[in-house]
Symmetry: C2
Subunit: 296 residues, 2 copies
């Protein structure tokens, strides 16, 4: 399987689905809608909705009820980036080579666009209730979607990360906590929602959540490694930024060799867990492998 | 009925319900939880959850499933105030005589606390699915909760308001639009969710939404009137702020006398609509009357 070509093909499919859930830019609120769509269309590989859709397929899901949730996870991820980039946060003017939302629309609109995206994520996911009003799995998916994005998930991780910046108050335990919440939580949300909506058993859901957590951790450690070993040409962003910002990373604590060995071990464990399932999705397994061992 | 005493009594009841849904301040994320609770406990009369609960009672609702939605509407309202107060927005250091959230916790935490509150609103409301997994009205209530808070509701109104500030680009039509979205939308959400969860008919839901819209409009016009006619002692905040900020209001467009006459007319219409219902809730009718004719 040419995994890169497959990912590209599916990214395009997903782009169409997301596009169909974006707000129409019209009426008095036109500007905020433009800012929302600008932020979302700034792109990315759409790995979260891809993981959601493939996990849904893995467990035999066939309905379009997954689509509003795919769009929602993109909106949640996007809002977190828009707010992360704000002057009072990371103060970034560019992301993926494009001007950040507040750099284009101003700071007030940057705040409101992030708020609007987060709210629109839930508004979009809620359309699933109209599609299948009697399907109780949608309520369960909603519980996961909201929880993994909140203070016990992504936002929780962000706040601890922000608070730790510029201090020496960091331990391996706290770093693991930040990675689990800031990076893994949305991956867990994506895969778990796919499993729940497809009707996976409780045990299968538990396993999927674990796999997603491992993938998230390996993904984040790989990120730390690349910040040390890659080049700006390959990565498309400045390397060495963690060291420059005196940021504690997995590499700081464990050293480069141990970090590399751990990524390999955690990924093998995730794939092994995947292989214990009765159901199979070859693309999903390859995708997980690719995610972890990526070079940018 | 001593309406003020009754409101106070119910506010205390509601305070207990809200308190039971606040996050415990513990773990690495302790600061964000403190900031969230600080923002919520800064107070107010809890009119939105009160309207929700009384509309629920009006239509014979008896379950505790309304409670997470009552807490949720408070969290949504609170997050909007926290972000409104930010330096890039209204830049307010005090609200209701207390330091604003960002003034206490810093700007980054102010942004994150608002995000966390909005997300926690939906996380809290989603616990209703655990209480009654087979109740399809919860999904319908969720659709209303999300929509009325978003770009077709509150956030939409805020953005148009922010964009119009300091410009001369205002019409009566646009002002009505802002009032309907910024002020009425959350009142409509509150009363409509009460009606939906109690099992009101489609026609009853439509009427309740209309009443809430009228109450919101009258409430906002009364606000504009008080900014001109009240004193700082009664209002507890500086008067004349609209004029000072060159803000277009209902009074600017229609004059004080017409504004007063319109409040009276809109309120009478709302009460008359209320009286066409077969079901009755005397307190709710009195509450609506009080809300509109208030002096602060």
């Amino acid at each position: 399987m040419d995994i890169k070509a497959e990912i590209d093909r599916r990214t395009q499919e997903i782009e169409k689905i997301i596009g169909s859930y974006l707000p129409k830019e019209e009426g008095y609120q036109k500007t905020i809608m433009e800012a929302m769509n600008y932020s979302i269309l700034a792109g990315g590989k759409r790995l979260r909705p891809m993981l959601m859709q493939e996990t849904y397929r893995l467990f035999g899901g066939k309905s379009r009820v997954i689509e509003p949730f795919m769009a929602a996870i993109v909106m949640i991820h996007t809002y977190s980036l828009v707010h992360d980039d704000l002057p009072a946060m990371d103060n970034d003017e560019y992301r993926r080579g494009k001007k950040t939302t507040h750099a284009v629309y101003g700071e007030a609109m940057g705040i409101l666009a992030g708020d609007a995206l987060l709210n629109y994520a839930y508004e979009t996911a809620a359309t699933a209730f109209e599609m299948e009003p009697e399907n109780p799995a949608i309520g369960r998916a909603f519980i996961v979607l909201t929880r993994k994005a909140g203070i016990y998930g992504m936002v929780g991780g962000q706040t601890v990360d922000v608070e730790s910046e510029g201090t020496h108050d960091m331990t391996r335990e706290k770093l693991d906590f930040i990675y689990r919440l800031k990076t893994s939580a949305l991956l867990e949300s994506s895969m778990l929602i796919g499993a729940i909506l497809a009707g996976a058993t409780k045990n299968e859901q538990k396993l999927i959540e674990e796999i997603a957590g491992e993938v998230g951790l390996a993904f984040q450690i790989q990120d730390d490694i690349l910040d040390v070993t890659s080049t700006m040409e390959v990565l498309g962003k400045p390397i060495g930024s963690d060291e420059k910002n005196h940021k504690f990373t997995y590499v700081t604590f464990e050293g480069l060799d141990k970090a590399k060995a751990d990524v390999a071990e955690i990924s093998e464990r995730a794939i092994a867990h995947m292989n214990t399932l009765v159901v199979k999705n070859e693309f999903l397994t390859e995708l997980l492998r690719y995610l972890i061992s990526r070079e940018k």
